[in-house]
Amino acid sequence: MSMEASELQDLSDDADYAASQQQGSASMMRCDSGKRSSPSEHDDAELIYLKDNVAIHPTQFASERISGRLKLTKQDSVLFLSWIPYKGQTSNAKLSEKDRSLYTITAVPFTEVRSIRRHTPALGWQYVIVVLTSGLAFPPLYFYNGGVREFLAIVKQHVFLARSAEDANVFLVNDFQSPLQRTLSSLELPSSLPVASGQYPSDGGTSNDNQGRASADVGNRVSSVNQYGLRKQKSHDPTRDLSIHLLEKFSLVTKFARDTTTQLFSENNGFGSIDKRWNNQPVHSYPEKLSNIAEEKHQESPHSYLDNDPFKDEEIANNVDVPDDPLEVNKLSLVWGKPRQPPMGRKEFTAFLDSEGRVVESKALRERVFYGGIEHQLRSEVWPFLLGYYAYDSTYAEREYLRSVKQMEYATLKQQWQSISPEQAKRFTKYRERKGLIDKDVVRTDRAFEYYEGDENLNVNIMRDILLTYSFYNFDLGYCQGMSDYLSPILYVMENESESFWCFVALMERLGPNFNRDQNGMHTQLFALSKLVELLDTPLHNYFKQNDCLNYFFCFRWILIQFKREFEYEKTMQLWEVLWTHYHSEHLHLYVCVAILKRCRSKIMGEQMDFDTLLKFINELSGHIDLESTVRDAEALCICAGENGAASIPPGTPPSLPLDDIMLYPLEDDVL
């Protein structure tokens, strides 16, 4: 996530600082109480260093940070690190007290610290990641007021700190002797995933399930860790920093955590005698974590998904050896995918506008729509922005003017075909054919949906008029099957012929190439999809390759009409407005494809589907895909793929705007 000025402003509010003044010491007392082995608050512990406004980001969203106080203390010549969140004050109401305590770091001795990775970008927040000898890592600690260099300098005064030969930003704290630790150090974690991410707060029932599974099957994947080469990340933000091979390491790290914890569980009947090295674990999370682990032991199937998953595998793994998923979407979305918010309402939307109606921060608006969609009544006002019909910096008055001008222009365009007399039509084959095609399609587009149902439905006629007008407006592209699928929800939302037309025109500016005669727009997207699958699920890619499925034509319908036939009407609208924000990527729809394919990967490979079976299977997924979790997976995959993902998508791939204007719609002999 880039750090825009507005976000920085948002984060520079004083609430946390004020809280730190009032609450800091109290919360430390609270968190440390009852821990016999914790030395930090003992009278003989010497305070070495104290830094306020050090925050962690439980998700990739800076707005959901938890701020707290970082401390270094020394006792019996051992240096301890602790980070205590401020109590009671919050930048985000969604974060509960429990979330805070989950991430609390209470007095970790530096003898258990493997390394500290620092990141001090010229612009943006500095942070450090503390990696333990166990392989666990704490979430990045953001120094909101700067001071990473000072922090490291102080650490260096008290423990042996050596700069890694392989990465100048990694400082090794300990020298390792054990083979396990050598293995870990050879991984050269470029950064690490949060320790507490496995205990990400529940958000509606599924994430507990997810988190159980997330670590249930990591045991098998150690061997696949090295399939990705080492790569240094230069990005300034750790959420971008996390590369694909890092996810492998995440699995590894989680495995170590689980193994160790399981061991503890088997050796201890209660929590009182837990080894002191685990004191950095959040107190409140123990029972949950342990019970999860107990359950996990019974989940031998490596590819079980959510219980309500319609494409759940059944005893497939027993028959066919399905290669492991290098990136489990459950795990990814757990870490990165963000739960959707309620749809944006009018009041909230109005807050994005200045007094004259300009959208002040279009990115913030798009972000809001991305994470929650729009209340239906408001869609007709927001969709024109998303589609590019309205400019974000236009005023109320300018938009009013635009509408009236465009209405006249539409009437002129419509008049072009309306003025064709029957006699002229007789001599105008292309027109007759085109009109015939549109007539055939509009009467069978969403007729079960109430807005278009019934005989002599006027909305069906309006849809016909718009499509015919469009085929004159863009005579080269004309009409193509699938266009009515796009227009139907637009007309339903806009409830105005001219406005619907111009929104449709704006959409076709980006998606028109889907309907090119040479199929070029589709081929480009299918190609990009194959590259993304290769990047994000190499075994699945290889499977498609071996089975002559690399053309990805089984995803043709998904891409051509952006999943219109895969979801019910309302869900389609929700998905489209998310896609149209272009918030993380213009090509999120391709990541949606990857997300769905990954959800089905073990079924596809386990049942050895060939192309025919695959196409049938994919078509029959229609109506059985859960939108919310799919979008969340897609977001996680998109973030995870990062620049490599973007590089997999050739420039100009729809819905990117065309690179140039020459021959937008290459013609062949037949112009129909």
Binding site: D441, T445, L672
Partner: protein
């Protein structure tokens, strides 16, 4: 022709024809015995399977239903390549759809499997009042081109099962093993009708 005992045959079948001729409706009637007045247009292609018992054999049809618009023509070879049978569908109330059907026949004769069983279906036979293509005209064309012709109605189910049954009867029962482009294969373990069907 048929060997003794039960014989299972997989046969790839493709439906081709003009927009709105009723390809999807024919399949839906055959596979699910359903009819939808406003059957939505087919995007890309759809795949179905349905099994018919013919004499002592069982024919499992693997049916490819394609999009009708000329613009998607370039995708068609992907679907008809390797097909053992084709149903070319036109709408008896639409002369242009009949002309389009003829073009499909020509293309299959030029590009397709020479042993392909081809059927010509004059669909919407229930709409007699709106008829534009006479049964005689279509029958003559079919005979000239070694097709068999039936008028069908997906709406009333007239002749729908029959046309598939007729195709099944005409499928070659014994497939030379040395023919790698075989269109009909015995349904052995893991055998599928066509393994090369998804090559671009």
């Amino acid at each position: 022709m048929a060997t003794s005992g039960n014989k299972n045959i997989n046969a790839k079948l493709v439906l081709l024809g003009d927009v709105g001729a009723g390809k999807s409706s024919l399949v839906l009637r055959f596979v699910k015995d359903q009819f939808v007045e406003f059957q939505e247009s087919t995007i890309g292609a759809a795949f179905f399977s349905q099994t018919l018992a013919v004499n002592d054999a069982t024919v499992k049809f693997e049916i490819w239903d394609t999009a009708g618009q000329e613009r998607y023509h370039s995708l068609a070879p992907m679907y008809y390549r390797g097909a053992a049978a084709a149903i070319i569908v036109f709408d008896i109330t639409n002369q242009a759809s009949f002309e389009r059907a003829k073009k499909w026949v020509q293309e299959l004769q030029a590009q397709g499997n020479p042993n392909m069983v081809m059927a010509l279906a004059g669909n919407k036979a229930d709409l007699l009042d709106a008829r534009k293509v006479s049964a005689e005209e279509a029958e003559i064309y079919a005979q000239e081109n070694s097709l068999f012709f039936m008028e069908t109605s997906a709406k009333t189910a007239t002749n729908v099962k029959d046309i598939f049954y007729e195709i099944a009867k005409r499928l070659p029962r014994v497939q030379p093993a040395e023919n790698p482009t075989g269109m009909v294969l015995p349904n052995g373990p893991g055998a599928t009708a066509v393994s090369s069907s998804c090559c671009a």
